[in-house]
C-alpha cells in the first residue's frame, strides 16, 4: 500500500465528479493551447519575414496603388539590391468561401526576392514562358487537389470577368513557417487585359518589394525611398517586411488582445473548477485526515495527500487536454486555413498549457491543505462528548 495508491483511489472515489473535473481541465488546457496557437498564427507572417526585404506601399492606404514606373527610381536608391512588385488579385475560385491569397507578380524578379519558395527549375522555366501560367503553394494545391497542368478559372472581384490559368508550378517552403497557401500569376497577364478593358488601372501595382544589402540600414533606405516621392500624387510608405506584416496584425489588435485575455481567463476558470473540487474533497475528508493524524501521520503527510490528489487530477486533465488539442486544432486549421495558413501547435504552447494546469493544481490545493492542517484532530473527529 503506497501513498500514490491512496491518492489515486481517493481521486476515483467520486468518479463522476473527478471525471467532470478532469474533463473541465482538459477542455481548458485545449482552449488555452488553441487560443495561443491562433495568436501565433496571426504573427506567423511577421515571424517568417526577411530582415533584408522592404515593402513599399501607397502612403494613404494599402488599397491605393502605386505607378509601376516608380520602380525605376526605387531601384537606383543607394542600398537597394533588387526590386519586384505584386498586386492583390482577389478572385473567387468556384465559391467565395474558397478564399486564398492571389498575387499578380513579375515572374522574372519576384521569386528571386523570395528564396524561401522552393520551385523546381523546370516548373519555373515553364511558368516564366507562359502568360497564363501560375505557381501555387503545396498546401493550397493539397487543399483543392490541384496538380501541375490543371486549368484553373478565377472570377475577378477587383478585376471583373473570368480569368483562366494553368498551374505550371508548385512551390514548397524552405522553412517551417513559410506560407504555402499562395497563388502567383503573371502581372503582365493582368496588366495587359487592364490596358484593353480599363486603361486607367493599367500600370499600377499594390506594392514594391525591395531587397536591401544591409538590414541595419533598413530605416535609412526606407527614408530615401519615401523622400523620392514626397509631394507626388502617390506618396510612398516604406517599411520592413516584418513591420508590414505586423500592420495586418495591428488591424486585428483588439481581437488579439481579447484572445490573450481569454487565454488567461481560461486558466483562471480551471483554477476555480479544481479549487472547488479540492475544497469539497478536503471538507468531506476532514474526519479521515483527523484519523490519520491520530494514527501518527504528520500535517506534512496530510498536505502531501491533498497536493498529490490535486496534482494528479491536474496532470490527468493536462494530459487529456494536450491529446484533444491536436484533433481540435486540426478541425480549426481546416475551417480557418485560408486565414491562418500557418496554424501549427508549438510544443512550447503545449508545455505551457500543461505546466499551467499543474500550477493550478498546486494553487487549488493550498486552501484545502491549510484548512486540513489547521483543523485539530478533535474538531476533525467532531467529538463533542
Amino acid at each position: 500500500m503506497k501513498v500514490f495508491k491512496l491518492i489515486s483511489r481517493n481521486t476515483t472515489r467520486h468518479p463522476l465528479r473527478s471525471f467532470l473535473t478532469v474533463l473541465g481541465l482538459a477542455i481548458a488546457v485545449m482552449a488555452f493551447a488553441v487560443i495561443r496557437t491562433t495568436i501565433s498564427a496571426w504573427y506567423a507572417g511577421a515571424q517568417a519575414s526577411s530582415p533584408n526585404r522592404l515593402v513599399v506601399i501607397n502612403r494613404v492606404s494599402l488599397v491605393f496603388t502605386l505607378p509601376l514606373a516608380d520602380r525605376e527610381k526605387i531601384e537606383k536608391v543607394d542600398g537597394v539590391t533588387g526590386i519586384s512588385w505584386a498586386q492583390w488579385f482577389g478572385g473567387i475560385y468556384v465559391d467565395p468561401k474558397n478564399f486564398f491569397a492571389q498575387f499578380a507578380v513579375d515572374p522574372g524578379t519576384y521569386f528571386k526576392l523570395y528564396p524561401e519558395y522552393i520551385i523546381p527549375p523546370d516548373q519555373m522555366e515553364t511558368f516564366q514562358k507562359e502568360r497564363n501560367a501560375v505557381i501555387v503553394g503545396r498546401a493550397l494545391a493539397d487543399r483543392f487537389g490541384w496538380s501541375v497542368g490543371d486549368p484553373i478559372r478565377l472570377t475577378g472581384t477587383i478585376y471583373p470577368g473570368n480569368w483562366d490559368f494553368v498551374i505550371r508550378g508548385i512551390y514548397t517552403g524552405a522553412k517551417e513557417g513559410t506560407d504555402e497557401s499562395q497563388f502567383f500569376m503573371h502581372f503582365n497577364y493582368l496588366d495587359e487585359r487592364m490596358k484593353q478593358e480599363t486603361p486607367g488601372r493599367a500600370g499600377q501595382v499594390g506594392s514594391f518589394i525591395v531587397r536591401i544589402a544591409d538590414p541595419s540600414q533598413a530605416a535609412q533606405v526606407s527614408d530615401r525611398i519615401d523622400a523620392l516621392f514626397k509631394n507626388s500624387l502617390a506618396e510612398t510608405k516604406t517599411q520592413t517586411e516584418e513591420a508590414f506584416q505586423l500592420s495586418f496584425v495591428a488591424m486585428a489588435g483588439t481581437i488579439v488582445t481579447g484572445l490573450r485575455i481569454i487565454s488567461i481567463l481560461v486558466i483562471a476558470i480551471i483554477l476555480l473548477v479544481l479549487a472547488n473540487t479540492m475544497a469539497m474533497t478536503a471538507r468531506e475528508r476532514i474526519s479521515e485526515y483527523a484519523v490519520m493524524k491520530t494514527l501518527g501521520f504528520s500535517p506534512f503527510h496530510i498536505v502531501g495527500l491533498i497536493f498529490g490528489e490535486s496534482l494528479f487530477i491536474a496532470a490527468l486533465g493536462g494530459t487529456l487536454g494536450i491529446l484533444i488539442t491536436f484533433p481540435i486544432a486540426g478541425l480549426i486549421k481546416v475551417a480557418m486555413g485560408a486565414f491562418f495558413p500557418i496554424f501549427k501547435i508549438h510544443p512550447v504552447t503545449l508545455a505551457v498549457g500543461f505546466v499551467s494546469a499543474l500550477f493550478v493544481g498546486l494553487l487549488a490545493a493550498i486552501f484545502p491543505a491549510v484548512k486540513a492542517v489547521r483543523t485539530s484532530i478533535v474538531d476533525g473527529l467532531r467529538i463533542i462528548d
Binding site: 491512496l6 474526519s287 491520530t294 494514527l295 501518527g296 501521520f297 462528548d385
Partner: protein, 225 residues
C-alpha cells in the same frame, strides 16, 4: 499488574466558544497501572472522551500533568506528539473510521507506513494482527463489504499492529448489535489478558464495562467513583 503506567495529575481542561469558557474536566487525578483494563463511564457531556483524547495526545490539557509511560505528553511538540502516538497509542473509534478506499489489509497496514519496516515485515505484522482479531480471511475486503463488528475488528487490528502498550477505545461497542458488541469485548479482554495491553475504554454500556477490571465514573467533569 505492575507500576503506574498512566498518571493524571490535577488535569483541568476547558474549551472556549467565542468568549465563553466552557470547563470540561476539573482537577482530574487518576493512576492506571500497566496491564490494567479500565472502563470510564458517565453521562453524555461528562468529559469521558475529552479525558481519553488527552491521554491519547490528540488534545492538550489547559493545566495539569499527563504522564504516559513516563513521558510528559503535554510537553511534546506537535511533530513529536504525532510520532509518540504512532509508537505508543492504539486508538479504537466508535464508528471504526476505516479508510473506505483501502481494504482490510491496507487499513491495518496504514500505521506501519510510518515505520521503517519493509514490505515483507509489514505484511507479516498485518497478517498477525488480522489473525488475532479473527479476520485473516477478510484481508482483501473493503469496509463496505464488512459488517459493523468486522469493521470494528479491523479497526482493533489497526490499533494493535504497531504493538502499542496503551489501547484507548472510545465507545467501541456503541455502534454494534449485541452479539458483535460481545465479540469485541471478548477481543479487548483477550488483548488485555493474553497480550498484557493496557486498555482504557470509554463506554455507556454497563455490560461492556463489566469486562473491564476496574470502572471509574465521570460526572460533570469530575471523577466520582
Amino acid at each position: 499488574m505492575s507500576d503506574t503506567f498512566v498518571e493524571v495529575n490535577k488535569v483541568y481542561k476547558s474549551y472556549w466558544r467565542d468568549s465563553i469558557e466552557i470547563p470540561v474536566l476539573h482537577d482530574i487525578n487518576l493512576n492506571i497501572a500497566e496491564g490494567e483494563f479500565m472502563a470510564l463511564m458517565g453521562p453524555s457531556g461528562s468529559g469521558k472522551t475529552t479525558l481519553l483524547n488527552l491521554l491519547a495526545g490528540i488534545d492538550r490539557p489547559s493545566s495539569g500533568d499527563l504522564l504516559v509511560a513516563g513521558e510528559q505528553v503535554g510537553g511534546l511538540s506537535e511533530h513529536d506528539l504525532a510520532r509518540w502516538r504512532s509508537r505508543n497509542i492504539g486508538f479504537v473509534f466508535q464508528f471504526y473510521n476505516l479508510m473506505p478506499v483501502l481494504n482490510a489489509f491496507e487499513n491495518v497496514e496504514l500505521p506501519l507506513l510510518l515505520t521503517k519496516l519493509n514490505k515483507k515485515e509489514r505484511r507479516k505484522q498485518v497478517e498477525a494482527a488480522l489473525s488475532i482479531v479473527g479476520l485473516a480471511d477478510r484481508m482483501k475486503h473493503y469496509p463496505n463489504q464488512l459488517s459493523g463488528g468486522q469493521e470494528q475488528r479491523v479497526a482493533i487490528a489497526r490499533a494493535i499492529v504497531t504493538d502499542p502498550n496503551l489501547i484507548l477505545a472510545d465507545e467501541p461497542t456503541g455502534d454494534l448489535d449485541k452479539q458483535s458488541a460481545e465479540d469485541i469485548m471478548e477481543l479487548l479482554s483477550r488483548l488485555n489478558s493474553e497480550f498484557n495491553k493496557t486498555i482504557i475504554m470509554v463506554t455507556h454500556d454497563p455490560r461492556a464495562a463489566e469486562k473491564a477490571r476496574r470502572t471509574r465514573h465521570l460526572d460533570k467533569g469530575e471523577l466520582t467513583s
